[in-house]
């Protein structure tokens, strides 16, 4: 029998960006909040020894321990799903701050087109443009409605950037100027201008200068040390929940964080959540935390899994298309890109920052005419200088052996002479891409793992090939002596790192028939349960998702505050 704890106003499950934002906004307004975090405490002082590629980037120091819990995967329902036994395609975060600690900090706003994608696609191209099995949906909110929340997230995180000439309207400029432009970025910018494209500096959560945010939190500037993605920041320069929103919530005295607390079920009576059941993993003790309002703020997979394990919401059925929990799982089409080799020039590629880049949206969203193309949407095209670490980066021209004397000579020669321009392709939903519970494989507690059924489609192959050619054109204009275009997108495979931009499963929308949550991320079926994160995306855009996750979290926080006063289904 689980020990029952005193009731609180709000319990949040997972203390990353979503949980941190919700906690700070709610506690500022006087609500008492308990945050349950399955991992350990994290703080900036943990990162004295962070410049360690092997430990952090290749042994996954900051990631979820797969021996305890993983996901299973199959390309389609005709084959047996098998566990992801080792890391590859994406990396699930763990510990205080979650994936918000080991991200790169590339902070975009999705395009106005994204939020009304179905309506706008039909309006311009007709209904037939959308493949029959593509479950494309509007989001139940417009860009203009979400704009104030984007702004709030950017002010809080201190995003460094300049206006995107092809982006949605902004109410405020970025709070800090763009990052310093390195020579590869300058080459990209000049070349794409010559091609009549519209480059801009990538919006960055690695601060370009010292910044104090509206909550009074001060952070120092990025030092371009080259250790962002998969690492924590030893300067606190990269915005993450631990150095921004969590201390604000703590300061109120209303926020209690319990680490090593693994939430296993959402408790409910009928269609009302009553709290959560969790295990203290240090003692094995089971505890019940009752609350007026429950907020799921874990990663996509656990948001979906907890709902399914708890029997909440209507599970999605790919055969009938009915139900919503697990629907519209999407990812990112990252394979379309090009590499350029410069024989006479070396760049200081060991230096960099997670969001040091230049990019353009001429081929993103519906910013270009798709009439004669066999796909919709597109992707942001970017050059980035993340800091090229030596184990993972050994670029050689095609045809070079992968080991031996020639390999050695080529890797040493081209180490600082190769630049990549890549596209971050949108991933659109299909009826047969979904999440559900695996019938066979279990976690350390004996609960079923989440199962992914996903593959790349013709839409993705066409999109990747098109964007790869555009990347190649830019690299040629940049003066590369040799350009290799990688336009072939094979089947989705889970062994090679592509992107930790998994989305969907608890999607938002304007109708309970087709979505799980409304535009405050409140569950249609369970009004005191909010589900926050990229799980709410009905599709994934051609951008990194965190900016939009942050905006939606601020929107949800406002909804929770409203709900705590008035009750009922919002909006």
């Amino acid at each position: 029998m689980a020990k029952r704890l005193p009731k609180v106003d709000v319990v949040i499950v997972g203390v990353g960006w979503g949980g941190g934002i919700i906690a700070s906004e709610l506690t500022k307004q006087g609500l008492t909040v308990v945050g349950l975090e399955r991992g350990k405490e994290r703080k900036t002082e943990d990162y004295y020894m962070v410049h360690d590629e092997l430990r952090y980037a290749l042994r996954y120091e900051m990631m979820q321990d797969l021996s305890k819990e993983t996901i299973t995967f199959r390309n389609n329902t005709r084959i047996r799903a098998l566990p992801m036994r080792q890391y590859g395609s994406f990396l699930m975060g763990d510990g205080l701050g979650g994936a918000g600690v080991h991200w790169n900090g590339q902070t975009f706003r999705f395009l106005p087109y994204d939020f009304e994608i179905r309506s706008k696609t039909i309006e311009r191209y007709g209904e037939n443009k959308i493949p029959a099995d593509m479950t494309l949906q509007d989001w139940g909110i417009t860009y203009d409605e979400l704009e104030p929340y984007f702004d709030k997230f950017e002010q809080m995180a201190g995003i460094s950037g300049e206006e995107n000439p092809l982006g949605g309207k902004r109410s405020n400029p970025y709070p800090t100027p763009p990052m310093l432009a390195s020579p590869p970025l300058k080459l990209f910018t000049e070349a794409s201008k010559k091609l009549n494209l519209h480059p801009y500096m990538m919006p960055s959560a690695n601060l370009s200068q010292a910044y104090t945010n509206p909550d009074g939190i001060s952070r120092s500037a990025c030092q371009y040390c080259g250790f962002c993605e998969r690492f924590g920041c030893e300067y606190g320069a990269k915005a993450d929940p631990v150095v921004t929103v969590i201390p604000v919530a703590k300061q109120t005295g209303k926020f209690e964080i319990r680490t090593h607390s693994y939430v296993r079920r959402i408790l409910h009576t009928g269609n009302r959540a009553t709290g959560v059941l969790y295990t203290d993993v240090t003692t094995g003790e089971e505890l019940e935390q009752p609350a007026e309002i429950v907020v799921l703020t874990s990663y996509v997979f656990n948001n979906v899994r907890l709902l399914l394990l708890s029997g909440l919401g209507r599970p999605y059925d790919p055969n009938t298309g009915s139900g919503v929990i697990g629907k519209n799982y999407a990812y990112q089409v990252i394979r379309g890109g090009a590499v350029g080799f410069f024989e006479d020039r070396e760049f200081n590629l060991y230096a960099g920052a997670g969001a040091l880049g230049a990019c353009l949206d001429d081929y993103n969203g519906d910013n270009f005419d798709h009439s004669d193309l066999q796909f919709i949407h597109g992707g942001n095209i970017a050059i980035s200088q993340l800091g090229q670490r030596p184990i993972a980066n050994n670029k050689t021209p095609k045809g070079t052996p992968s080991w031996g004397k020639e390999f050695k000579a080529a890797t040493l020669k081209y180490n600082y002479r190769a630049l990549s321009v890549g596209a971050q392709g949108a991933s659109l939903p299909f009826r047969h891409h979904f999440l559900d519970l695996d019938p066979t494989y279990r976690d350390a507690f004996g609960d079923p793992l989440i199962r992914i059924t996903f593959d790349f489609e013709e839409q993705d192959r066409q999109l990747a090939a098109y964007l790869a050619e555009r990347c190649g054109e830019i690299l040629k204009e940049m003066g590369a002596d040799k350009v290799e275009v990688n336009s072939k997108l094979g089947p989705y495979e889970i062994t090679t790192y592509q992107s930790t931009h998994n989305t969907g499963g608890v999607i938002m929308g304007s109708s309970p028939e087709t979505s799980a949550v409304n535009n405050y991320l409140q569950m249609w079926d369970v009004e005191n349960l909010f589900v926050v994160g990229a799980s709410a995306f009905p599709h994934n855009s051609g951008y990194n998702p965190t900016g939009t996750v942050g905006a939606l979290a601020y929107r949800a926080a406002e909804g929770i505050l409203k709900y705590s006063k008035s009750g009922g289904i919002l909006a």
Binding site: L66, S67, L82, P183, G236, V243
Partner: protein, 249 residues
């Protein structure tokens, strides 16, 4: 003049500490950067090889391999990344010791991988589905390399000429060698990745001896800041620093 001088000089840890005082001035900054300012060391970081007395490298002993297994891996890694006119190879950089130490730990025993049954053969897209741990795969792989070498040339792998060794490795890489318990090509790929890790990981792990792997690749290792480098058009080379240089407490 002063400007040029600064540009051409590597950003040492000392320079960084001095400059960051300006960067961080007036801000309440906690954590590592703030801590470093407070904890400024009396001494400059000791550069490898400048110590007054030579001590034995106690790290170069075996935690997992038998000496026989070690010889095979040492020889194989050297073929993957051979010593030549460009500089040291895997042997001189201690790569086989690195692999030995890694196999002895979490990585070798797949401690953070999902190893629960049932085990089914899967599609290539689903990744590794075997029940064997990395250290078991290495033990089998090494044995098979010797078996194959024996079969072809009547000698152990490390007794073959470099050209013969390359042939054996190619046969493993291509999967031409057909093994029942493990995939020869997957074993080769694991060996290749581990070799790169041993060449370029921080020297604390036993490879990249004296940071010579980094020097070869002109990688500056573990610097605190590149704010003065990031906009430079010219390639800036600097003497690498390792995590040891952070061990200041």
């Amino acid at each position: 003049m002063e400007e040029n001088q600064r540009k051409d000089q590597p950003v040492s840890r000392r320079t960084f500490l001095k400059n960051s005082g300006l960067v961080l001035g007036g801000l309440v900054v906690g954590g590592v950067a703030g801590g470093l300012l407070v904890r400024q060391r009396e001494q400059a970081p000791q550069q490898p090889g400048t110590g007054s007395k030579q001590t034995a490298d106690f790290n170069q002993a075996l935690m997992f391999f038998t000496p026989e297994q070690f010889k095979v891996i040492d020889a194989a890694c050297e073929r993957i990344f051979p010593e030549d006119e460009l500089g040291p190879g895997a042997k001189a950089l201690g790569v086989a010791y690195f692999i030995d130490h890694q196999l002895a730990g979490d990585w070798g025993s797949n401690a953070r991988d999902y190893m629960q049954p049932p085990f089914y053969p899967g599609e290539a897209t689903q990744g590794y589905q075997g029940r064997l741990k990395r250290r078991e795969i290495f033990e089998i792989g090494i044995q098979e390399m010797n078996n194959y070498s024996n079969e072809k040339h009547g000698k152990k792998f490390y007794e073959l000429t470099p050209e013969q060794q390359d042939e054996v490795l190619k046969a493993f890489e291509s999967g031409e060698v057909n093994l029942t318990t493990i995939s020869a090509s997957s074993f080769f790929q694991m060996l290749r990745s581990a070799t790169l890790e041993g060449l370029y990981s921080d020297p604390l792990y036993g490879g990249n001896k004296n940071m010579d792997g980094w020097r070869l690749k002109r990688y500056p290792g573990n610097q605190m800041a590149y704010t003065q480098v990031i906009e430079q058009e010219k390639f800036v080379e600097m003497e690498p620093l390792s995590l040891r240089d952070h061990q200041s407490g």
